[in-house]
Symmetry: C2
Subunit: 320 residues, 2 copies
């Protein structure tokens, strides 16, 4: 297992310069008042392809050999990693096969398809994406681009944290987590500059494997079939590299219910004028629900993505 270092994040930042976007830290006095803190929202929904995932995917593809590039890549994803890999592959002239669940959000399927990737759909209940992917990878000699358990992917996501650390010295950072690549990459980068910043993961309620893993000291799994509006945050268990980083870098994990997430989406709509997908609103949701004590502190909330179908977004605006 190769654990990325801060130097890897800095190298990733160089690779991503002029390719990924430096996303803004948004601020709203109304949000500060609602949360009783100085709140800065890192708007990764404004990242290329609408989510942070492009950072890690591009950083991974950029280190492939010429021979590997000629063969192409494969990835499994319900959406944001799919588009990140497809977009990075298009930019680097690499062909991409993406294995996606048939029930992935339409906007995510359409975006990945528009980026020129070959999409292989599977049935989430009856089929194994790992088996489909392994077969295709072997048949065609494709390189698998893992969504989080890869040092280059984590270092790429860490560039989001590097930008935060350059802009502000926050007391607290909260990032959505599922596989753990974003929150641990960000923590690695933020701690290199600001060692006393507390970094928390936000995960869907009932899907709290990260919280339990931090407590037990080993990687815990989620029971199958748990439902959450956060389609982007439903990995069964976090990665080994993220877990190793989480043990030294994370201050804890907080849960966000579906109602909290919808409220956060509404708040971001109203006060920040950004579109967040459910998973992208998890950190704001956890803060809003008081799951992390942020009163009076300077807090960065990572809004990790905005790829959401119109009906889901409209429903969140209508709730509660």
């Amino acid at each position: 297992m190769i654990i990325p270092s801060f130097a890897d994040v800095e190298i990733a930042a160089d690779r991503l310069k002029g390719v990924a976007r430096r996303t803004p830290l948004l601020h709203s006095e109304a949000l500060d008042e609602a949360l009783g803190a100085t709140v800065l929202v890192k708007a990764e929904c404004l990242q290329r392809y609408g989510a942070f995932k492009f950072r890690g995917a591009y950083n991974r593809l950029a280190v492939m050999s010429a021979a590997e590039r000629a063969q192409g890549v494969i990835a499994f994803s319900s959406g944001n990693h799919a588009a990140g890999v497809a977009g990075a592959a298009k930019l680097l002239g690499v062909s991409a096969v993406i294995v996606m669940p048939a029930d992935a959000p339409g906007v995510k399927l359409a975006q990945t398809r528009a980026l020129g990737a070959e999409i292989v759909l599977y049935d989430r209940v009856r089929e194994s994406r790992e088996e489909i992917g392994a077969r295709l990878a072997q048949e065609r000699g494709l390189t698998l681009v893992k969504p989080f358990d890869d040092p280059y992917v984590i270092a790429g996501q860490g560039t989001c944290g590097l930008e935060i650390a350059e802009d502000v010295a926050p007391d607290i950072v909260i990032a959505p987590a599922s596989g753990g690549g974003l929150v641990t990459g960000v923590a690695l980068a933020v701690h290199a500059r600001h060692p006393h910043t507390q970094v928390f993961a936000a995960e869907p309620e009932g899907h709290d494997d990260l919280a339990r893993s931090l407590q037990s000291g080993r990687i815990e799994s989620n029971a199958p079939g748990i439902r959450s509006i956060c389609d982007a945050l439903l990995v069964e268990r976090m990665g080994e590299i993220p877990f190793a980083l989480a043990r030294t870098h994370l201050a804890g994990a907080a849960a966000a219910s579906d109602d909290d997430v919808r409220a956060a989406m509404r708040l971001a709509f109203q006060h920040l004028k950004i579109v967040l997908e459910p998973g992208g609103a998890a950190a704001l949701a956890a803060a809003l629900a008081g799951r992390v004590d942020i009163k009076g502190r300077t807090v960065v909330l990572i809004a990790s993505g905005g790829n959401v179908d119109a009906e889901v977004f409209a429903a969140a605006l209508r709730a509660p």
Copy 2:
């Protein structure tokens, strides 16, 4: 009549440094493909209080004398100028009275109220906001902050154009227009750096006073009672200073129908992950409907505001 110069825009930019936000130019490959051009969207919806209006309001209030500040300000507005003035007044410790129509969008009323302004509602059909305002201004010695026909306001809006001109040398810029303060301030600033850039105004269909004024060579009015989804763009006639600037700086004006505007709001939701109010989407709508020939060019579209009620936004997502 005092016509602002580019130097006034530069002075305004100094005043606004650290107070207004430098908004990003957003880009999306999908939008480029949809429009057949290199499209950059200046996201003024991410400006303080959700619209460009804060720029001009703050620049105007900043030049008031101590005696004027002690008395307070008054403004008429259906929303974005209201919040801009209320926010600038709060920052500068000036009391503000805002005369707003009773049927203004709820989000705009709430935001202005939350900023501590005293709101005086009037009936758009039966009452004259000018009369109400003139009476209050006289009774209380308030300074009127005009929404567009003021050199400091136009210079403040021009800082949006200065940021554009610093970031890119566009072939074409399109900005929403009603009173004309934004589009002419922007044109003034852009032309100082890039004299060959064509600047167009986008106005609601049937509310094309600017297009007719450019043609006839005098300020034309809109017939009363014309309906448009663009609540922010329904001024009866443009200002005299904006008209003087428009004659030398604008290449033309393009109309946006309600359907075009809703389609633009959806496109910005889908590909840019930003929330636009109807008036804020007018430039994108005009480009999308082919009302300005942008094929193959580098185009900046100003997305001037995002203060929209949830029901209106959800309805735009559901359309057509």
